[in-house]
């Protein structure tokens, strides 16, 4: 039995029934990591010793007949921008390559309380700025479906780890699509919860008004289980919402009868790969056949979303990343003779090109004389984008779109920044409006997975989970395993 191919909910059953121990399971995962990691490069840091110690504790609990949480003893991995006390957290940057956090992120506290296992920290685009995981200081991650292709990003390591069987579940973070797009590129399920659903405390900030932590998993059920653990009000995050968190597994009902599914026409136009479009249309037909009502809707400000995002996110990032100055932690240039010079050299040497580009773009749009033309304007357009969704949700319960207009593309660094930015057009508006969005596998194009995005109303994760679950149960896409082929 290949344990690494199973889901968290399947493994929970096996742990409880004593068919397998958590230590065996954890060892099996590390064996798998040993076998494929040099091809995939999904991890920045592994933590075998602590993981096995934690597994042994869970095994003792099971042996004592105690009840365990659904994720207890099930090995997962954490995106390397989420603070883990005592375990290196680098954001895949030279800047933080030696940072040992002194505190746990809120989600980590919750996961620890549920006695889950952390195998290690997963690779990402440096400071979550990118959609390919090529900008990592620790080298690019490769797509397990075709090692010559990108895994997407910025949570590329978390998604590739799932696809390659190197973790049972993972956490990612999503600022403009960084959970959903890599989930789509790797044939995984990835959900970005409503902004405020999950505490951001301990998630190294990229763009504070957009960032949200969420799970990447093999199926919808596992996504619901992870959500159950990480959601909820946190007193350390002013923007975390003080609202009741439902048991998301209750939403896992295979039934979409009467569900109104909206297709925003702007997401199906120019730039959409026809092969991706064909898979999405197939999924729409399936929903219709299962009793859902399909309606065409419009989100007229979609074309402005990308540039709006590339003004707002860098602006926030320019301030969020100012703290990396070589004073309290992180990389420091030691040749400088003054503090300002030390900070300038540390940042110049510690950050990669894309991070520097975005910091400077953000600095520019906030600087004196340009604030109104760029930043304020973008915040106003953001209002219009939100209103588009409000209008659309008067006609439907969920929106259905391709997660990405393309499938995973080759790792060759040939695209210019703007062309890569423009591919985020399907995921960015969801962050701009703070809505929940899930990507589920819905087919293949050129042998690469295609993802379908379902967008929900604020705090209505339950409905998109139900729609995603219904689709998943009617198909087998999530059961196909990545071949780890290609030339790498």
């Amino acid at each position: 039995m290949e344990l690494y191919k199973l889901t968290a909910h399947e493994l929970h059953e096996k742990l409880v029934n004593k068919e397998v121990s958590s230590v065996e399971l954890t060892n099996a995962l590390y064996e798998r990591i040993d076998a494929v990691e040099d091809k995939v490069n999904a991890y920045v840091t592994l933590d075998k010793e602590n993981a096995l110690a934690q597994a042994a504790k869970v095994d003792a609990k099971i042996a004592a007949g105690e009840e365990i949480a659904p994720l207890a003893g099930v090995p997962g991995a954490i995106k390397d921008n989420i603070s883990t006390k005592g375990l290196r957290t680098t954001c895949s940057s030279k800047m933080l390559s030696n940072l040992i956090p002194i505190y746990d992120a809120h989600v980590i506290k919750n996961l620890r309380a549920d006695e889950t296992i952390f195998l290690g920290k997963t690779n990402m685009d440096e400071f979550a700025m990118g959609s390919t995981t090529e900008s990592s200081f620790f080298g690019a991650t490769h797509n397990p479906w075709n090692l010559d292709r990108v895994p997407g990003g910025s949570s590329g390591g978390s998604a590739a780890a799932i696809a390659a069987g190197e973790a049972i579940w993972t956490l990612g973070s999503d600022t403009g699509g960084s959970i959903r797009q890599p989930a789509s590129f790797n044939g995984c399920v990835g959900i970005k919860p409503t902004y405020g659903r999950v505490s951001r405390y301990g998630c190294v900030a990229f763009a504070s008004s957009l960032d949200q932590i969420g799970p990447i998993t093999k199926d919808v059920t596992d996504a619901a289980l992870v959500l159950n653990t990480i959601c909820g009000k946190d007193e350390h995050d002013s923007t975390s919402l003080d609202v009741e968190v439902p048991d998301f597994t209750k939403a896992l009902v295979a039934d979409v009868k009467g569900l109104r599914i909206g297709l925003p026409k702007e997401y199906f136009g120019e730039g959409l790969d026809p092969k991706v479009k064909a898979e999405i249309e197939k999924a729409v037909k399936q929903y219709e056949a299962m009793g859902a009502e399909i309606v065409e809707v419009s989100l007229p400000h979609t074309e402005y979303a990308v540039i709006t995002y590339y003004i707002i996110a860098p602006a926030e990032a320019s301030a969020n990343l100012a703290r990396f100055d070589g004073v309290r932690y992180g990389y420091r240039n030691t040749s400088a003779t003054s503090a300002p010079e030390m900070t300038t050299l540390s940042r110049t040497e510690g950050f990669g090109a894309e991070v520097k580009r975005r910091i400077m773009l953000g600095t520019y749009v906030l600087s004196s004389g340009y604030y109104d033309a760029y930043y304020k304007k973008a915040m106003q357009v953001r209002t219009l984008i939100r209103k588009d969704f409000e209008e659309a949700f008067k006609q439907c319960d969920v929106l259905l779109t391709p997660t990405s207009p393309v499938v995973a593309y080759p790792i060759d660094g040939k695209m210019d920044p703007l062309s890569i930015y423009l591919l985020d057009v399907t995921t960015i508006p969801v962050n701009m409006a703070g809505l929940p969005g899930i990507s589920v596998p819905c087919g293949f194009a050129d042998g690469m997975p295609v993802g379908m995005q379902l967008i929900g109303k604020p705090l209505d994760e339950a409905t998109i989970l139900r729609a995603a679950y219904t689709f998943e149960q009617a198909n087998e896409y999530h059961k196909v395993f990545a071949p780890l082929g290609g030339n790498k």
Binding site: L99, V204, H236, A322, R323, R328, L366, S368
Partner: protein, 480 residues
């Protein structure tokens, strides 16, 4: 020679007296070992987030109401971006375009003239950490060590209108402001410890000019004396430049207290572009009437009200009352003492006289004064009741400064009790009359002065203890 008008505006930073910091739960205690009141939030660790301390808002409203401001209901925070090693996040959480308070004022009295100084705005923000330099000054140090204990301590910045025209007015404004902040208990106002700091914007313009001159911003004014000296120096400096046909550079200067000069702070002019934008990590604070009115109803008596009460209830002269209320501690000492004193004016006289002289001499404040208000009241009563002459009262006071004992106890221990026993005094009166026939004759001849001499003789015999009133009365009776 051209006559110039001085224009001064003050920016005052007051650290709020909260128990915990503005955006995290670390203690605000002063004077601890470096980096011992810190956490991921105030150290600016990656991923840490701020959560606003409710008391900061409460204090800001209170200060605003006490300073006659409009309180704005919609509040948000902004990030002010600049790099400096004492600023953990390299941005300061502050309020930019929507301060919590606007349009206030303080009425000051300078040389008997009332003047209203406008307050433009008050906003909430966080303090930075502290740099400890390896050398004597920042410019002679090869390195510095950063301590973030103060990082994140809440501040209010109180910005005045450029309404002051002299160092005296600036001083009066600052003294009044300090008293109000103390009375409202929002700040402990220790200028030496930096919990109350002042920057002055100073410019001069020729008399009759319509526009203000170019201003210099003077930092590091850590005492009233420094404020006054710095303004006086800076005005002269600017006059000299203008007289020589030069022009004033708009710049930040620092006050060098040791040398009594202001110095330009920037060797090379670095652009100040703070790139303010709304703080995404904090949600807005929406005040309602109920909140504001509750704070208003809880406002303590303010210095001006207290002064009026001291005049009305205790019959103090305006000037004396203004000195008593100038600091909250003085006013509270007075209020405590008059609870048991039979003579309020007597308490005030003691406080403004011997007590103040002693405090000045020792270089301490009334909060550190060892004589309790109750003991001072007792001393006043002993005088009022005729137990002590005013001369002996000073003697007792001197003893009270040495040991913590009630004046009545000290009077007994020192044997200083005034003699009011009729028999004993009568004996001394008779003796003295017998010994000074000439003086008695003079008195009888209508020379009133003579009685003064006789009283003096009796007081001498009693070593100052005889009740002078009784002595006088009995002398007259005996000699008629």
């Amino acid at each position: 020679m051209t006559k110039y008008i001085t224009v001064i505006g003050l920016e005052v930073h007051a650290e709020l007296k909260t128990k915990s910091k503005a955006f995290c739960s670390c203690s605000t205690a002063f004077g601890s070992a470096p980096n011992t009141h810190v956490c991921p939030v105030c150290l600016g660790m990656p991923g840490a987030l701020p959560v606003l301390n409710k008391q900061v808002v409460e204090f800001a409203i209170r200060a605003g109401l006490a300073l006659n401001c409009e309180i704005k209901k919609f509040n948000k925070f902004d990030r002010k971006n600049y790099f400096y090693p004492d600023l953990a996040k390299n941005y300061q959480i502050s309020q930019f375009d929507k301060p919590i308070c606007e349009n206030g004022h303080i009425d000051v009295n300078v040389n008997g003239e009332e003047k209203r100084i406008g307050i433009t705005r008050i906003h909430m923000e966080e303090d930075a950490g502290k740099l400890v330099h390896s050398g004597a000054t920042i410019s002679t140090s090869d390195s510095s060590a950063v301590d973030y204990n103060r990082a994140g301590v809440p501040l209010i910045e109180i910005v005045s209108e450029p309404d002051m025209r002299s160092a005296e007015e600036a001083r009066a404004y600052m003294e009044n402001l300090k008293a109000i902040l103390e009375y409202t208990d929002v700040c402990d106002c220790k200028m030496q410890e930096g919990s109350l700091r002042c920057d002055a914007n100073i410019s001069i313009m020729p008399e009759g000019a319509k526009e203000f001159g170019t201003r210099a911003e003077i930092k590091n004014l850590n005492s009233f004396r420094a404020l006054v000296r710095a303004i006086e120096y800076e005005v002269e400096r600017q006059k000299e430049i203008l007289e020589d046909g030069g022009h004033i550079v708009q710049e930040t200067r620092t006050w060098d207290d040791a040398n009594g000069v202001t110095l330009s702070m920037r060797s090379k002019e670095e652009a100040h572009d703070y790139r303010y934008f709304p703080e995404p990590d904090l949600v807005p604070v929406q005040l309602d009437d109920a909140w504001i009115e509750r704070v208003r109803s809880e406002l303590p008596e303010l210095p001006a009200q207290r002064q009026a009460r001291l005049v009305k209830e205790h019959g103090l002269p305006e000037y004396d009352a203004s000195l008593i209320v100038a600091t909250k501690a003085m006013a509270e000492y007075f209020d405590e003492a008059v609870k048991t004193a039979k003579d309020s004016k007597g308490v005030s006289n003691w406080m403004l006289g011997d007590v103040s002289a002693y405090l000045n001499n020792e270089g301490i404040t009334i909060s550190e004064f060892k004589v309790t208000p109750a003991h001072l009241a007792e001393l006043v009563n002993l005088t009022k009741d005729g137990v002590l002459s005013s001369k002996l009262a000073k003697k007792v006071f001197a003893e009270m400064l040495k040991e913590d004992k009630a004046p009545s106890v000290l009077v007994k221990e020192l044997g200083l009790e005034q003699v009011s026993d009729e028999g004993a005094i009568l004996k001394l009166v008779e003796e003295t009359i017998a010994e000074n026939p000439q003086s008695v004759a003079d008195f009888k001849a209508g020379k009133d002065k003579a009685i003064g001499f006789l009283v003096g003789q009796i007081m001498k015999k009693s070593r100052g203890k005889a009740n002078p009133g009784m002595v006088q009365k009995m002398l007259k009776e005996k000699m008629q």
